[in-house]
Symmetry: C2
Subunit: 533 residues, 2 copies
C-alpha cells in the first residue's frame, strides 16, 4: 500500500461483486492481416477497418490513429491488436493499434470521484478483476472544503479551470501510481467509468456548476456520454472513452445511480431502500417496477469539521464509542490505534446512541441533567491536550440530519402509498454506510429498524457501479435506465418535507413503534414505558 | 471577382446540375424549448438533445458545446437553432447551437483540391445553390510543381507539415474571401466535402503519402470518413464534418469518384466512358451494373512547363490554333487577348490536329519535311521576343500521352469484352476536358470518335461531385459505392498495357476505321487513301 493510503481510511472495498458477462466499454481484437499486393491494394486504414468490421460492425478511425497505422502495421508484419471503444451507444471507434497480440493487456479504470476523496480502481478488462486501487484526497479540498464553496469558486475568473485542474491532478497522480505499481504504460489504459455527484462531474468536465445550487437546480448535463480522455487531460490513451455515470439531477448524481446499479435493487421484486449519507444525503426507494428518490444537504453533521471535536476518519479519530449505562464509563477505539484527537462520523453516531441508551440524553436529544456537553475523552488522555467532547449543539445537528432522512423517507413512502414496514431490503452506500455501526444508526433512527440480515452495506458502491459499467454495456444501459426512471422529489422548498422534518424531533422516531428493537432496549432499561410510542 | 481569379483561367463551372432532394451532411433545426422548472428539471444538454432526438434520432454532444449550451439557451430565451452533422454514417453529433432561428443561414463548402489549383464553392445548404466560388493556386505549387516532388518533400523532416500548411493556407484564404464577400462568419460554415486525388487528400490530412508511388501503391486511407474541421485547422466551425470523397486507390482518387458521381454514368444502362486527363490521366468505364478503371501518368505533355513553349492556361497563353491547309497560315487566340507568351494544353492539341490535317505532320506524328519545330508565332509578334514553337519533341510527348490513353482504354475494353463502338456516352472531366477543343482531341485520337451529341463536358466534375455529396447523404452513399465497385486495373508493370502503348503510334489511331470522321477529313484532303486504315 502506498504511504498516503496508510494515513487515512478511505472506502475502497465493496461487498457485492455481481457476476457479469464481460462486454466491456472498450474491446481488443488480435488481427492477422493479409499483406497488400498489386492484387489486393486496399489502403492500410481501410484494410484494418474492414477486418474490425467483420468482427464488430462499422468502426470509425480517428485521424491521429490514421497517421500511426501504416508504420505499426509494417513494423508488426501485419499482426496487430486493435482496441475499439464506444463514441456513442453502439457506435465504435478505433482507440489504439498495437503490434502483436496484446489482447490480454486490456486495462480500464473505475473511478469514484467524491467531494472529499477520489478512488481509482485499475480493472483488468479481460477478466473483470480489480488489479489494484489507489485513493487520495480530492485536490479540490485545498481550494474549498465543501461543495458550495467550490461552486462559488468556479464562478470566479479562472476558478473553474483551477478546480478542474485540481481533480485531474489527483486522478493523474493516482493513475500514475497504479500504472507504475502494475508495470503498464498510461497509454495501455483504454477506458474510464466514473461515479461522481453532479457537481463533481461538472468540475471534472470543466462545466459551469453554478445552476446546480440555484432553483430550479438545472445541471449543464446529466448524461455526458463518452468523452475522449485527451479532451480532459487524463494521462491515459487520449482516445480512451471516459464515461461518467448519468445523474438523475443536480442532487442525485451518477454516484447514486452507480450505487443503485451495484445494489441490484432495480432488478428485484421486493421493495428496497438505498441510502447514501455523505455531505448530501440521497435516498432511493423502489424495485424492478419503479424508482423514486430525493436528496438533501443531510450530512454535514457527520462530516469532519462540523462537530465541535469532529474530524475526518483519519488516524486518531474516535470511530467507536460505548457507554456503560451503570457507571457512565466510556470505552472507545481510534483509527489506527493512535491517541485520540477527535471524533469521526461513526463515533458521533455511536456516542448519541449510547447517550440515549444510557439515559444521559432523552428521546428529544437533550441532556437530561441540562449539561452543555459530554466528555468522551478527558484532556489528559487526548492527543490535543483538550477534552474531546460531544456538545448539545453537535447533538442538535445530528438530530437534524437524522430528521431530514426520516422526513425524506416518509415523503417517498407517502408518495408511492407504502409504509416503512413494506421495506424488505436496506442498502447503505458510501463511506458512512460502510463504517457507521448498524445498531447505533438504528438506535438514533438514521436507519430503519429492519431484520438485520436484510440490511446490507454496499461499500464503495459508486466505484463498484463504475466497474460494472466499465465491464458491461448491458450494465451501462441499466445505469441509464435507472437515471431515467427515478422519479425525483425536490425537497428544496417542499412544504410537505418541511412539515415532516420539523416533526421529526425524537430519537429514534416520533413513532417509537416503527423501531421495535430500539423500543425493546429502551423499555428494558426503563427509559420509556412499555405502552409509550 | 477577386484579383487572383482575373489573372488566370481555372475551371469553376460545371454543366450538369443534377436535381437532387436535399438531405445534407449537416442539418439545422429551430427549436423552441420549454423552460426548466422544478417540475421539469432536465439538464440543459439533455433537454436540447432530447428535442433533437425527437426529430432525428440519437445525437451526441461534444464537450466543447456542452460548455456553451447553458449560456446560449438562456440568452436566446430557449429558442435556438441547432446544427447537427455526421460523425459516422447515420451517426449524428451536435455541431453548433445558435440563438434564434437561423435555419436559412446554412452554409457548406464544396472543395476541389487539385494539384495545381484549388476551387472552393460556397453552397447554400438550405436550397442547394452555389452562392459563390473562389479559386487559387494550391500553395503547394511553390514547394513542388509536380506530385512526385511533393511526395519526396513530404518524406523530409517537417516536409509533410509544410505541405499540409500550404494547402490549408490556400483553403483558408479562399474561405476567408468567400465568407467576406457573402457577409458570413467562418463559424457559420458547418460542412465540407472535398474532391481530390489521393496524394492531395493525404497532404490535406497530414498523412504520409510515400507509399502511393511505390509498388504495390498503398495509400494510408481511401475513405477517411468525417473529420472535424478543427482537427485540420480549417477556419470554419471547428466541429464541422470534413468529408473527402473516397478514393479507389493511389491513382484513382476522390476527384475521379466525384466526377463519376457528377456524370451519373453509374446509374445509366448505357456503356459510358469517363476521362479526366490532367497530370495523371484517369479513365473509368461502365454503367449501372459494373465499373472498371485505370490511371497513369498520362498528362504531363499537356501541362504547362513540359512543352518547349508550354505554359499554364494564364493570360497570354495560346489556347486555340488553326492552320490554313493551303497557305500554312496560322491563326490563334490567347487567353484574355493578351500578347502571346506560350502555348497551353488546348493550344497544343489544336496545333497537332491542325498540323495533321494540313499535312505538315504525318500520321506517325513526324514532320513530313523533317524540320525540328513549327513556328506558331514568330519572335516579332510574341510577348517573349522569341519564336513560339511546337517541336518534334513536344509532338512526341503528346503522342505518348494519347497513346497511353488509347492503350488504357483498349485494355479496359478487352477486360470486359467490349469494343470501342459499344461506347454510348463520353464524359470529359477536369480542366482539359473543359477547354480542349473537341474536334482536335478527336483528330489526334485523344478522345473517341463518337456522335458529338453523346460527348459531354463535365466541367469541374470534382467540385460538382463534392457539392452533391455535401447536399445529399444518398449521393455520399453512391460515391462510396462507386469507389467500392470500380475494378481497378493497375497499369504500372502491366505488360498488356505496355504492348498496347508501344503499338499506339499513329494519329488518330493505328486503326483509322475507329475514327470515321477523322478519316473522312484526311481522305477529303488527300492525306490518306480511302482504302487505308
Amino acid at each position: 500500500m502506498a504511504d498516503k493510503e496508510d494515513r487515512m481510511v478511505i472506502l475502497t472495498d465493496s461487498i457485492s461483486r455481481e457476476k457479469i458477462s464481460i462486454d466491456p466499454m472498450t474491446r481488443k481484437f488480435y488481427l492477422e492481416l493479409s499483406e497488400p499486393s498489386l492484387e489486393d491494394n486496399r489502403a492500410d486504414v481501410d484494410r484494418l477497418a474492414a477486418a474490425v468490421e467483420k468482427l464488430l460492425g462499422p468502426v470509425t478511425v480517428p485521424l491521429e490513429l490514421m497517421r500511426r497505422i501504416p508504420g505499426v502495421l509494417r513494423d508488426a508484419c501485419w499482426r496487430v491488436t486493435v482496441t475499439v471503444g464506444m463514441v456513442a451507444p453502439g457506435v465504435w471507434s478505433l482507440v489504439d493499434v498495437e503490434p502483436g497480440n496484446t489482447v490480454r493487456r486490456h486495462y480500464g479504470l473505475a473511478v469514484d470521484i467524491g467531494t472529499t476523496t477520489v478512488v481509482v480502481y485499475l480493472v483488468d478488462m479481460h477478466n473483470g478483476q480489480i488489479l489494484g486501487k489507489a485513493a487520495g484526497y480530492n485536490g479540490q479540498v485545498a481550494l474549498g472544503e465543501d461543495i458550495l464553496t467550490r461552486i462559488y469558486l468556479a464562478g470566479t475568473p479562472g476558478g473553474l479551470e483551477q478546480l478542474q485542474r485540481a481533480v485531474l491532478d489527483t486522478l493523474n497522480d493516482l493513475i500514475g501510481r497504479l500504472a507504475g505499481e502494475h508495470g503498464l504504460a498510461g497509454r495501455e489504459i483504454s477506458a474510464v467509468a466514473a461515479g461522481a455527484n453532479s457537481t463533481m462531474v461538472h468540475l471534472f468536465l470543466g462545466l459551469d456548476p453554478s445552476r446546480i445550487c440555484m432553483a430550479p437546480y438545472i445541471p449543464v448535463v446529466n448524461n455526458p456520454g463518452f468523452i475522449p480522455a485527451g479532451q480532459l487531460g487524463l494521462k491515459i490513451n487520449p482516445l480512451a472513452p471516459v464515461y461518467c455515470l448519468p445523474s438523475v439531477g443536480s442532487y442525485v448524481g451518477g454516484d447514486v445511480v452507480a450505487g443503485v446499479l451495484a445494489s441490484g435493487l432495480h432488478r428485484q421484486p421486493e421493495l428496497a431502500l438505498f441510502v447514501d449519507i455523505g455531505t448530501n444525503g440521497e435516498i432511493i426507494m423502489g424495485n424492478r417496477d419503479w424508482l423514486v428518490g430525493c436528496a438533501g444537504a443531510a450530512g454535514p453533521a457527520l462530516e469532519g469539521g462540523v462537530a465541535e471535536c469532529g474530524m475526518r476518519a483519519e488516524p486518531g479519530a474516535i470511530d467507536s464509542i460505548s457507554i456503560d449505562p451503570g457507571t457512565g464509563r466510556v470505552r472507545y477505539t481510534t483509527i489506527g490505534g493512535a491517541p485520540p484527537a477527535g471524533i469521526c462520523g461513526s463515533g458521533l453516531v455511536d456516542c448519541l446512541a449510547e447517550l440515549l441508551l444510557a439515559g444521559i440524553v432523552d428521546r428529544a436529544g437533550r441532556f437530561r441533567d441540562g449539561r452543555r456537553e459530554f466528555v468522551v475523552v478527558p484532556a489528559a488522555e487526548s492527543a490535543t491536550g483538550r477534552d474531546i467532547v460531544v456538545t448539545q449543539v453537535d447533538i442538535n445537528n445530528l438530530m437534524r440530519t437524522k430528521g431530514a432522512v426520516n422526513a425524506a423517507l416518509e415523503l417517498l413512502l407517502e408518495s408511492v402509498g407504502c409504509e416503512l414496514s413494506d421495506i424488505d431490503r436496506f442498502y447503505a452506500a458510501g463511506a458512512f454506510g460502510q463504517y457507521l455501526h448498524l445498531e447505533s444508526a438504528i438506535t438514533i433512527g438514521l436507519y430503519p429498524d429492519l431484520p438485520r440480515e436484510k440490511m446490507i452495506r454496499l461499500g464503495n458502491a459508486s466505484g463498484e457501479g463504475a466497474r460494472l459499467v466499465l465491464l458491461s454495456n448491458r450494465k451501462r444501459e441499466e445505469a441509464e435506465a435507472i437515471a431515467r426512471n427515478i422519479t425525483y422529489f425536490e425537497l428544496n422548498a417542499n412544504q410537505v418535507f418541511m412539515n415532516k422534518f420539523i416533526g421529526s424531533k425524537f430519537l429514534p422516531h416520533t413513532n417509537l413503534d416503527y423501531y421495535p428493537t430500539v423500543k425493546a432496549k429502551l423499555v428494558e432499561r426503563g427509559l420509556v414505558g412499555d405502552g409509550e410510542s
